[in-house]
């Protein structure tokens, strides 16, 4: 059976490692990107993840800009977007959801929290 693909976008290599491990444990294949711009480049190269886990504060292109860019493209409309960030202000969560993010996890989180959110979204490998 083919695994679903998850893209982990975070400028912290440690966080990419942690999220990658969680997602692999849930049965996903994982690709990584250190910022929004590189993530967009990978999407443009034809990689099509089922879900992207997106940090907010990153160099070059931040997570909110990435969400906005993805939502503008018809061919990426099926990608589920979940913010995973330390940004915890209510107004920031509203901004991300309004831009088109489907879910929002605030760091710190437990692996169960990620699994719960994927179940909420109906995205399970």
């Amino acid at each position: 059976m083919l695994s679903l693909l998850a893209m982990v976008i975070d400028d912290s290599s440690a966080m990419r490692l942690i999220l990658g491990r969680i997602m692999r444990g849930l049965g996903f294949d994982v690709v990584e990107a250190p910022n929004g711009a590189e993530a967009i480049a990978r999407l443009e190269s034809g990689i099509k993840p089922e879900i992207a886990l997106v940090d907010w504060n990153m160099p070059v292109m931040d997570g909110l800009a990435f969400v906005n860019a993805v939502r503008k493209k018809e061919q990426w409309r099926d990608i589920t977007l979940m913010m995973v960030t330390t940004e915890s202000e209510q107004s920031q969560i509203v901004r991300a959801l309004a831009a088109g993010a489907h879910e929002y996890v605030i760091k710190p989180f437990t692996p169960d929290a990620i699994a719960d959110k994927l179940a909420l979204l109906g995205v399970l490998a």
Partner: protein, 326 residues
């Protein structure tokens, strides 16, 4: 393992006497794990020393703390989701038809622990398009643990707790920041009335339309399960609904209940209540693929809902009569 078989038997007897909860063989690990922090906080060198003190002195406060530590259960918002989708899509519409004369619905969260279940029910009610100002909805939340009830009443949850099971649109709609935590907004928390109640003893409650008794029966022996179900059936309306945990059933315990499937949710109803009308176009599920947004659109579960900036819960604020203001 630091506790002896005798110490475990003493604790199992204590819990059984005070709550009717059955700590069967093999639960030694639970006693060890759950009592470790209590022993440390109370200044004992280990769990065995804590138990030894209670055996010798009969310290009532320590006995109560031990029982509470062993009977507190993990919970999360919208746990298992299916019951909440059934409540939203089938049960509330059914009750709105059947209770039109009184415009009153009562829902009971039995064994509410730290409150995530009753507040999940309250959010479902507040967001429901059929519940308008004519309706009085009361959510009764009970637990045996006074400590858990105090935590539940505070309606305050950590970041880790709101990350579990709570869709982000509901977090921003029904919670407000409270220092580093989040607190349920008054429009939601005022729907819930908390009360200490031991399911293993006789109790008096008003008529109930829907009972959430999930992951509670598993802790009781068969005799107590039968008694608890009989007591619940006594207060459940003849056309009411009972939700149990995924591994629980009334089969073989109380033949007056029958199992009904509402979509992927299992619910138990007094025999003869039948299957409710299941709307073909019901309210949207709490979460799941149907709640996912399309291209360039705002997530559908946010659409038409009040966002922060307008008062939380403002579309229904004041329209549901909280208990005591009827």
């Amino acid at each position: 393992m630091t506790i002896t078989a005798g110490a475990f038997a003493f604790i199992a007897d204590l819990v059984k006497q005070m709550t009717a909860i059955n700590l069967g063989p093999g639960k030694e690990y639970l006693v060890e794990n759950r009592l470790a922090s209590l022993a440390r906080d109370a200044g004992f060198r280990d769990v065995a020393a804590l138990i030894g003190r209670v055996q010798l002195s009969g310290d009532d406060r320590l006995r109560r703390q031990i029982v509470e530590a062993l009977t507190t259960n993990e919970t999360s918002f919208f746990r298992d989701r299916d019951p909440f989708n059934a409540l939203r899509q089938v049960i509330i519409p059914d009750l709105c038809r059947k209770r039109v004369a009184t415009h009153r619905i009562t829902i009971w969260s039995a064994g509410c622990s730290s409150g995530q279940e009753p507040y999940s029910i309250a959010m479902t009610v507040v967001d429901h398009p059929l519940i308008n100002s004519e309706w009085t909805v009361e959510i009764l939340a009970t637990d045996i643990s006074q400590e858990m009830l105090e935590k539940a009443k505070s309606a305050r949850y950590s970041q880790l707790e709101v990350n579990r099971g709570l869709p982000a649109p509901l977090l921003v709609r029904h919670f407000e920041r409270c220092e580093t935590d989040w607190r349920v907004v008054p429009a939601v928390r005022n729907l819930v009335r908390f009360q200490q109640l031991n399911l293993a003893e006789d109790f008096e409650l008003p008529w109930i339309d829907v009972v959430f008794l999930r992951n509670v029966l598993i802790y009781f022996d068969t005799t107590t399960k039968i008694e608890v179900l009989r007591r619940v059936r006594r207060v459940l309306r003849p056309d009411g609904y009972l939700f149990l945990g995924g591994s629980e059933t009334t089969l073989g315990l109380d033949d007056e209940f029958e199992r009904v499937m509402l979509g992927s949710a299992t619910v138990y109803r007094p025999r003869g209540a039948g299957v409710p009308e299941i709307p073909t176009e019901g309210a949207a599920p709490i979460a799941g693929p149907a709640a996912r947004p399309g291209l360039g659109s705002r997530p559908s579960s946010l659409a038409g809902s009040p966002l922060p900036g307008s008062p939380p819960g403002s579309s229904l604020a004041g329209s549901i009569n909280p208990p005591g203001r009827r």
